[in-house]
């Protein structure tokens, strides 16, 4: 079974081809955010180097959010276009879960953190139990303080990874009351191989969707929607009778 994996959710752009237990090829660049220009040429390189007949793949796994809104869309639109042309299903893999999958069978908790700006992180809490990835706390957008409060409550050792580590490392050491470590370079960022390998598990479990219905899971509404909701909440508060023209 052959699964293509794409991740352009952050600074990393990564494309990988996994066949059952074998990684046939992976192209990962953590340099500049110009994924629109790099992602498809990277796929083309993998296809050429592995002499891949694209029609032979079984599914297209994509890091489906959270992440940079634009980055997610480049990955998802690429996956949707490939899915349409090749008539193959898409496998949306939660970005944070795929990050955690990098640290297979790690002892204790695994906590990927992605810098989400606005003083938040995209994160989740995971562990491996009997060689399977288990979600302790599903992916979410929260402040680093809120995350550390949760981890302090759990009181177990934690391995951190993700592009949020350089930003929040000091904060973690300062506020965390649990033993912790930080994953090394080869497994501490998004990797297409993790998306493809976890995507293969999803595929076997029947967790696929059509290319047409796929959209990223942003974990956040747009700024305009947030501000509009805020305006309406204020208007409702100013007009407690509820007879205002607008309601929530």
């Amino acid at each position: 079974m052959k699964i293509l994996g794409l991740d352009s959710s952050g600074m990393v752009a990564s494309v990988a081809l996994v066949e059952d237990d074998t990684l046939l090829g992976e192209y990962t660049v953590n340099y500049k955010k110009n994924h629109s220009q790099t992602l498809l040429p990277m796929l083309d390189e993998i296809v050429k180097m592995t002499e891949l007949d694209l029609a032979s793949i079984d599914g297209i796994a994509v890091a489906a959010g959270p992440g940079s809104f634009t980055g997610l869309r480049i990955g998802s639109a690429t996956a949707k276009g490939l899915g349409l042309a090749l008539k193959k299903p898409l496998i949306p893999v939660p970005t944070v879960e795929a990050l955690a999958y990098n640290l297979y069978d790690t002892q204790g908790l695994i906590c990927p953190i992605m810098d989400a700006r606005r003083n938040q992180v995209y994160t989740g809490i995971y562990r491996f139990r009997e060689h399977c990835l288990v979600t302790v706390k599903d992916q979410m957008a929260v402040s680093i303080e809120e995350l550390l409060r949760l981890l302090n409550e759990l009181g177990e050792s934690v391995t951190f990874l993700g592009d949020g580590v350089p930003v929040f490392r000091e904060r973690i050491l300062e506020l965390g009351s649990f033993p912790c470590s930080f994953a090394p370079a080869h497994v501490n960022r998004q990797r297409g191989a993790a998306v493809a390998a976890l995507g293969l598990e999803y595929f076997r479990a029947g967790k696929t969707e059509s290319a047409a219905e796929h959209s990223p899971d942003y974990l956040r509404v747009s700024q305009a929607e947030r501000e509009r909701a805020e305006r309406e909440r204020r208007a409702a508060a100013a007009d407690p009778s509820g007879k205002g023209e607008r309601s929530l």
């Binding site: 498809l40 634009t70 639109a77 990223p216």
Partner: protein
């Protein structure tokens, strides 16, 4: 399965060229299949306008998200509506600028992946060249050179189309685009978004000579446009009436404003036509659907013996058929884009 390709050969032995075009530069998700650059086999447009009305204008992030939700369905409908499969196509065309970067990126990434997956060549198209090319769809006799006025929410250009894909820009707006002025004035009168069609409709009930507004001119640049002074004059008129407690007749105001815009657009176009000896005049872009502009331009052309070309309203506003037409002329000129094609939000007219 033998010689299927013979079916698509024309009498003169030339094979038909079929292009799938994708457009997502603003708030319309669109796809179309165009044959030989002039025959539209399908033209699917999914508009988000109702959604953006809630915000009084297009919200880029929301537009990008909606494109993601609709793009495959729109493309699949365009293919099935044309009765073709990807394997029947010769190329994929896609708008890569100008426009909203996030919105453009959805179409560009999608079109690139389809072309890559289907083994088809990719042709990036300039959105405004698409608007100009909309005139080819319903006017089989129209060929360059001709003079074209391009007016939309984001653009106001007066150009000579010297050849397919070759432009000489004579004039452009120095500030607001014509369509932008319509939107701003419509908002001030309380008509809402989008302003163009609303002002056009209301103007029919008003007296266009009721209020005299300034006609923006740029000294030394007779073909350039300026609409910000006109917009300010309208806002000042409204404010001063409000301060005096006078009632403003919205229909008269809309009609008078529209006349000031249309007068300038027609005057500059006719001036350029005379100076450059052009006797074929075309209009393009969303504002080209404006009834008053079409009438005034038609009359001015008739008076001078010029041929006047204009697209049906559905080909004036954003659509992918016009992108397919522009892509065709690029394709036969040998233009091909690589898998690294990027969205270019400020792509200049004629820039390659």
């Amino acid at each position: 399965m033998e010689n299927c390709s013979l079916d698509t050969r024309k009498a003169d032995g030339e094979k038909d060229i079929l292009i799938l075009a994708v457009e997502s530069s603003c708030d319309e998700t669109a796809a179309s299949v165009v044959k030989n650059g002039r025959t539209v086999l399908s033209n699917i447009i999914s508009s988000q306008i109702e959604l953006h009305k809630l915000y009084g204008g297009v919200v880029p992030e929301i537009a990008s998200r909606k494109h993601m939700e609709k793009i495959n369905q729109v493309i699949e409908e365009a293919l099935s509506g044309a009765g073709v499969e990807l394997s029947d196509l010769d190329a994929i065309g896609v708008t890569y600028g100008p426009g909203l970067v996030g919105a453009l990126l959805v179409g560009v990434a999608e079109a690139k992946a389809i072309a890559y997956g289907a083994g088809l060549p990719l042709v990036g198209v300039h959105h405004i060249e698409g608007h100009v090319s909309a005139n080819y769809i319903e006017n089989p006799d129209l060929e360059p050179p001709f003079l074209c006025l391009i007016v939309s929410g984001g653009h106001t250009h007066l150009v000579i189309v010297k050849d397919y894909g070759e432009f000489e820009i004579l004039g452009r707006t120095r500030d607001d685009a014509a369509g932008e002025a319509f939107d701003k004035v419509a908002r001030a009168i309380g008509l809402g978004y989008p302003g163009g069609p609303k002002i056009d409709r209301l103007s029919r009930e008003g007296n266009a000579d009721a209020i005299v507004f300034p006609h923006g001119k740029i000294s030394g640049s007779p073909y350039d446009f300026s609409f910000s002074g006109l917009k300010s004059a309208v806002l000042n008129y409204l404010n001063s009436a409000r301060m005096k407690g006078e009632n403003v007749d919205a229909a008269d105001l809309a009609a008078s404003f529209q006349k000031a815009v249309v007068d300038v657009l027609v005057e500059h176009t006719m001036l350029a036509a005379g100076d450059y000896h052009m006797d074929k005049i075309a209009i393009a872009g969303g504002v080209a659907a404006n009834g008053s502009l079409r009438e005034a331009m038609k009359k001015a052309c008739r008076d001078r013996g010029y041929r006047f070309y204009y697209p049906s309203p559905v080909f004036c506003t954003d659509n992918a058929a016009m992108i397919g037409t522009a892509a065709y002329y690029e394709f036969i000129r040998g233009v091909r884009h690589g898998w690294d094609l990027n969205a270019v939000p400020d792509l200049k007219l004629g820039q390659r």
